[in-house]
Amino acid sequence: MKNTKNNRTIKYKLYSLGALLVTLLILGFLQVNSSQYSYQISILERSAIYAVVAVSMNLLTGFTGLFSLGQAGFMAIGAYIVAILTIPVEQRASVYYVNGISPAIANLQCPFWLALIIAGLVAAGIAALMGIPVLRLKSDYLAIATLGFSEIIRAVIAAPQLDRITNGSYGLKSIPGFPNLFVAFGLCALCILLMVLLINSSYGRVFKAIREDEIAAQAMGLNLFRYKQMAFIISSFFTGIGGGLLAMFMRSIDSKTFSINLTYDILLIVVLGGIGSITGSVLGAFLVTAGREWLRFFDNPLYIGGIQIPLFRSGFRMVVFSILLMVVVLFYSRGIMGNNEFSWAGLGRLVKGIPDRFTKKKQKGDNTL
């Protein structure tokens, strides 16, 4: 009995190793043919970055039970810090051509990994300050307060007073991109891995306890404010890094990039994937980002027998997308994964269950006939 269990864990470990190898091979293939597949690569990269932010939002919303809508704000902080710290010094004059650059940052440059860490730390520091008043609020009120904060950050970035640092409404460009695909996906995977490890640690259990019952959590000797603050800071740290990664991916940013729509995109991914499921958030990030692109078909005019179908025009894609979302939320109200996580055993059950489902239906049909 124990032996078979051991065998099974070894088997699952081999599967995981295999999946990792396949992923690396695909990445290697895309890296070699990057110019040919640039469109697909950009979708995948954006998905991976959204996955990081979605998992960090899930850490807060799904695991700690704090509904925050400040993601875009923290992403903006992270993105601008990475941009300011990594744009090559020689290109800065052309980036800040309108207002000039503040001498304080003119020669400030550091490698992208250090810039990402600083981005995360600054976002976390701002979250720590903001958490003191805001985390005393509950549910909807917390969401509104963080939403307001996120808009303030955006307004501050676009403010003319900061023109010489953030370049105001002109945005920042010439941000160096990822050196290669492995760095891009490796960083995203590392962030998600760290959050998974945290969620499965003793601290993750504390977060879940707070989500389940705050009064009981306090009776277990857990200081609510301390742990909520901790979850908020950690989530913001990774959101900041996610913003930095997005800046590296987009290579040019402006304050409009980080409007409330970005937060809604992330929220959508979290809800669609399943609140409280990391696998769900990752899956959701890829599905939503890729789905938007697949649906581009609806934006092109369609002719059937020489007659143009009137609905098919630019913008129709988003209508179809929204309808699909409504369908998902109506029929899978707990998201794709609910609050379950991926496991090989679970996948095995799912695959084995598919033929059963068909045969059962058939049997039922036979009986009625």
Partner: protein
């Protein structure tokens, strides 16, 4: 009337504890003592202020006036402030006292654990995780060591202690069940096990036998006696099942309309006229 326990050191001391919500005085000048190793019951009709008194001890409420001491240390001390100074309607005239406050988690860390009248388990988590969470408070680790798994020894110790506790409480076979799926009696027992996992010196039980049948109540009676012995606990409980209360309590306090109306041994309480009156409402019925 409590001479036989006076030689034991005091563990919980309430002095003139008053809790007023708006114009309603829920607990009015309550003074009581619990000594180490005792089982003390707090009884009274519905709405007498028993749970409010518990909440004043565990920090869920801040008493409007009065002091609470745990092991000779003042854990709460308060006097009416602001608007409450005019509204204060407690029967004890407030003196000026230093202000001491604690949050519920700090109280648990000092060694007072509690259960709730309406069971508060972490419903979506497993039985094992419910107890394991209680171990977090006393674990030596930080968020970095826990994330990077540098605390694996500590984690293993927490897990093995949790498993040992579940085995002692006969819950080990249910460890992977989701807490909210357990039958009511087991949920109560799990809640007590979880409270024990915080390594308390004083255990507050808020109606542990609520909703139990006579057999389950008897089991619970034995269980409370047994945990007192094996964990060297002091138990302070609110309970309505009189047979349970009379069987295991060393002393009983009776609360009615927020005021202490009697206290003494079970025999003394059974024969106390005020208590009988409070429970049966003799004088009210006579007037009707």
């Amino acid at each position: 009337m409590t001479e036989h326990t006076n030689n034991k050191p005091n563990i919980l001391h309430l002095e003139n504890v008053t809790m007023q919500f708006g114009g309603v005085v829920a607990v009015n000048g309550l003074s009581l003592d619990v000594n180490e190793g005792e089982i003390v019951a707090l009884i009274g009709p519905n709405g007498a202020g028993k749970t409010t008194a518990f909440n004043c001890v565990t920090g869920i409420y801040e008493p409007t006036y009065g002091q609470v001491q745990f092991q000779e240390e003042t854990i709460f001390s308060n006097m009416p402030k602001g608007k409450m100074r005019k509204m204060y309607a407690g029967s004890v005239h407030p003196r000026t006292v230093p202000i001491v406050k604690n949050t519920p988690d700090a109280i648990t860390q000092k060694g007072i654990a509690r259960t709730f009248q309406n069971i508060r388990l972490f419903g979506q988590l497993s039985v094992f995780d419910n107890v394991l969470i209680a171990k977090h408070m006393r674990a030596k680790q930080n968020v970095f060591s826990a994330t990077l798994r540098l605390n694996h020894k500590e984690e293993e110790r927490m897990r093995s202690e949790t498993m040992a506790l579940l085995e002692e409480q006969n819950l080990a076979h249910l460890k992977d069940e989701i807490a909210s799926s357990l039958p009511y009696g087991l949920q109560r027992r799990l809640e007590i096990a979880r409270a024990l996992a915080t390594e308390p010196k004083l255990l507050l039980l808020d109606e542990p036998a609520a909703g139990m049948n006579p057999q389950e109540t008897q089991d619970l009676t034995d269980f409370i006696k047994q945990i007192r012995e094996s964990y060297h606990l002091t138990v302070f409980m609110i309970e309505h099942h009189m047979d349970l209360v009379m069987q295991i309590s060393d002393r009983i306090y009776v609360l009615d309309f927020g005021k202490l109306i009697a206290h003494g041994t079970p025999e003394e309480i059974q024969n106390n006229e005020k208590v009988i009156e409070a429970y049966l409402g003799v004088s009210d019925d006579a007037e009707d």
